[in-house]
Amino acid sequence: MNLFDYLCWVETEAAAHAVGMPKTDKVESTWQAVLFRAGGSRMLVPLVQVRAILPPPRQVQIPGAKPWVVGLANMRGELTGVYDLARLFFDLPSEPGRHSVVLLAKTQRFSAAFIVDRSYGIRQIPFSAERAVKEPHLQGVLREVRMDNDWLPILNLDALTDSDQFMNAVA
């Protein structure tokens, strides 16, 4: 055993006995996302794109609009379009329940709110756990993340609201 090897052994032993001492492991950088469920699928949305999570508001229906356009509502004093994510993505009607909430999007041009079945709260997402979607088939979903042995789609609200499909809301 040379000296280097000895030093390495000493480090290993010390680390093994360092109970109650500050972690010396490398801290992985993460970002924050809101985990929610829509149309029976769990999805994530970056926290920075969400302005608030609120109970479903009272809204008025808009005649001649696509079925996923639920209506217009007064959200914190702003005229806001309310959309049904489940119907938009999966052509399924949302299940209104006592856990239903709306995600108020933080967009520059207009105010938009998306009805989801349930919000599970904030999750810390390691950058290493995500990857690009191989075959994007959902509008605004470009990446996905590994969580609980499953790949969950990450919804980019800016990309969604900029898309042609979203802008063409007239039936």
Binding site: L47, V48, P55
Partner: protein, 671 residues
């Protein structure tokens, strides 16, 4: 017999006479009653008719007085008319109070004539009565005006004098003078109107015109018109005003008088008509009255028939007296000869009965048609009965003698039989004594059995009590189980309430979660400054999630509690059912024990009864032994008496012989 027929014949004749006399008497009475009733009716008719005559005359007089303004006469006329109508109705037979006053059919023509006259008269009379108010009113008005007229005349005269003194124009003086004349004429014409004469119509016309002329001229003098110029002299005007004041009253009275004038005229004309027809009317009524009076005089022939029938009744009563005297004399003669014949018959019967007294039954007495015939017949019947009696006694004594001999032999045999019977009865008495001892032993055994049965009754009773206590215990258990079930049910309800509260907590946790999320978002937007707040928000979110998990666990626990309580309730219900069925079983056992108790009691009573009966039987057997001994003694006595009876029957045979000898004295006809 011939006397009875004679008497019967006499009775029929007398009865016929009495009946005929009574009928004739009734006819007489009826004739007299009829005659009296007829006379009464005729008298009443005549009185009513004569009253009609008087009424018609008085009515005419009073009517003429009434028309002349006599107020009392109007009332009299009214009452007279009512009386006349009533009487006329009575004569027509329409008055139910006086049915007898109706005239007979042959006088209806006279009555119809009166009725016709009366109808005409009554019509005129009604008009007079209608004018009553006018007649009386006009009279009053006339007297009032008549009082004023002198004043009016003198005032008008003063006017004329004043005008002449004032040297008025001749035309004015003429007009004023004419006023005087008019006043006087008004007075005259008013008299004519009130008297109601032929010229009353003309008078009333003139009266109206005079009053109008006077009024017009007076008005002209005062105010000036086409009839007269106005007078300006102050003195004359003052006088004219006096005249105008008086004339106003006269004018008013005059116009009232004129308004009544037509009625008055009609009444006066009616009165004139009444005056004209009164003679004929009164004549008709008088004729009816005299006719009815003549009818009464002519009636009365009916009474003569009554006198005739009365005479017939008297003659028949005299005949009846003669017949009665003749019959009584004949009856006396018949009775005397009958008595003589009866005396002879009785003497003959006494002779024939003398032989019967000597005991000779071989001959009969002679039966004749006399009074003794029935007695002789009865005596013959007695003789026949005596013959039968004596014959029967002879035959019977012979039969008694032979029967006595047979009875004597039977009595001897009876005495021997009785002796043998006494010996047999002795052996029966011994057997009965033995039987009595055995019955006493049975009675003792039965008493023992009764005691045992009584003890079994007590045992069954105690068993029944134990079962009843068991049933009470089971009922208590059931009540306690029901109480416990209620408590468990309340527990289930409480756990339900806990579940509700947990749901509320879950909602709060969810909302807290969302709040924490929004706080985190706000912190993130604040950038570096919000990092600390983000940590707090993160902790709050974790807390909310833990609360959510804890509430889910509580919900599970509450569900488990509710399931367990439901199962516990089911188990309790099952237990209650088991307790109830156990109680039913115990009750059945109790019933069975009660039946055993009843049966044991009955058994005990029956055994006691048997013991009592056997005891009585033992007593009876002892009595029986005594009785048999008595029978044995009496049988011995019977044997002795049978021997004595045989001896006495022998004596009876000699008594029968004596009886035969006693009837040997009667002499019987040869057979």
């Amino acid at each position: 017999m011939s006397l009875g027929v004679k008497l019967g014949g006499l009775s029929r004749q007398v009865i016929t006479l009495v009946v005929v006399a009574a009928i004739t008497l009734l006819v007489t009475v009826a004739i007299f009653i009829l005659s009296a009733m007829n006379d009464q009716a005729l008298l009443e008719r005549r009185l009513v008719a004569s009253q009609l005559e008087r009424l018609s005359q008085e009515m005419t007089i009073e009517t003429l007085r009434a028309v002349r303004g006599n107020k009392a006469s109007f009332d009299t006329v009214l009452s007279l008319r009512a009386q006349f109508i009533s009487d006329l109705n009575a004569l027509s037979g329409k008055d139910p109070k006086r049915p007898a006053a109706g005239v007979p059919n042959e006088r209806k023509a006279e009555l119809a004539k009166v009725q016709k006259s009366w109808d005409e008269y009554n019509l005129a009379l009604a008009k007079v009565l209608e004018g009553q108010k006018a007649i009386l009113g006009v009279g009053d008005l006339a007297s009032q005006i008549n009082q004023l007229l002198p004043d009016l005349l003198s005032s008008s005269d003063e006017v004329v004098q004043t005008l002449i003194a004032a040297q008025a124009s001749p035309q004015v003086v003429y007009l004023a003078t004419r006023q005087l004349m008019l006043v006087e004429r008004i007075g005259l014409t008013m008299g004519e109107i009130t008297s109601g004469g032929q010229n009353a119509a003309n008078a009333s016309d003139r009266f109206g015109r005079d009053v109008a002329l006077f009024g017009g001229v007076l008005n002209g003098f005062l105010n000036g018109n086409r009839m007269a110029p106005q007078i300006n002299d102050p003195a004359a005007r003052a006088k004219l005003r006096d005249v105008a004041v008086l004339f106003a009253t006269v004018n008013q009275g005059g116009s009232d008088l004129l308004s009544e004038a037509p009625t008055l005229l009609a009444a006066n004309q009616a009165a004139i008509k009444i005056d004209k027809i009164a003679g004929a009317f009164t004549g008709d009524v008088s004729k009816l009255s005299s006719t009815l009076a003549q009818d009464q005089v002519n009636a009365g022939q009916l009474a003569y028939f009554g006198y005739l029938t009365g005479l017939i009744v008297l003659l028949m009563l005299a005949w009846l007296g003669v017949v009665l005297v003749r019959d009584s004399r004949y009856a006396m003669k018949m009775t005397e000869s009958q008595n003589q014949r009866n005396q002879q018959a009785i003497l003959r019967l006494l002779d024939e009965m003398m032989t019967l007294a000597d005991g000779d039954l071989s001959s009969h007495t002679t039966v004749t048609e006399d009074i003794t015939g029935a007695i002789a017949d009865s005596v013959n019947y007695s003789i026949d009965a005596l013959r039968d009696l004596v014959g029967t006694i002879n035959d019977t004594s012979v039969r008694v003698a032979s029967a006595v001999q047979r009875s004597q032999a039977d009595s001897r045999a009876l005495a021997e039989t009785s002796r043998v019977q006494a010996e047999k009865i002795s052996s029966v008495s011994d057997a009965i004594a033995q039987m009595s001892d055995q019955i006493e032993a049975v009675s003792f055994n039965a008493q023992q059995s009764a005691t045992i049965a009584q003890s079994s009754v007590d045992v069954a009773h105690r068993g029944g009590d134990a079962v009843r206590e068991t049933i009470t215990g089971m009922a208590n258990i059931r009540e306690q189980i029901q109480e416990t079930a209620k408590r468990i049910k309340r527990l289930g309800e409480s756990s339900q309430e806990i579940g509700d509260i947990v749901g509320l907590i879950t909602d709060i946790a969810d909302q807290t979660n969302i709040l924490a999320l929004n706080a985190a978002i706000q912190a993130a937007m604040a950038g570096e400054a919000g990092r600390g707040f983000a940590v707090v928000a993160d902790e709050v979110q974790r807390l909310a999630e833990r609360v959510g998990k804890a509430t889910r666990q509580i919900e599970l626990l509450v569900n488990t509690i509710q399931t367990d309580t439901s199962e516990a309730m089911l188990a309790m219900e099952q237990t209650t059912t088991n307790v109830v069925s156990g109680a039913t079983l115990a009750e059945n056992a109790g019933k069975a024990l009660r039946e055993i108790e009843t049966v044991s009691l009955n058994l005990s009573e029956q055994i006691s009864e048997i013991a009592k009966v056997t005891e009585q039987e033992a007593l009876v057997a002892t009595n029986l032994r005594q009785t048999v001994n008595n029978i044995r003694a009496e049988t011995q006595e019977t044997t002795d008496k049978a021997s004595r009876a045989a001896d006495e029957i022998g004596a009876l045979g000699s008594l029968s012989q004596e009886l035969n000898n006693s009837v040997a004295g009667f002499k019987m006809p040869d057979r």
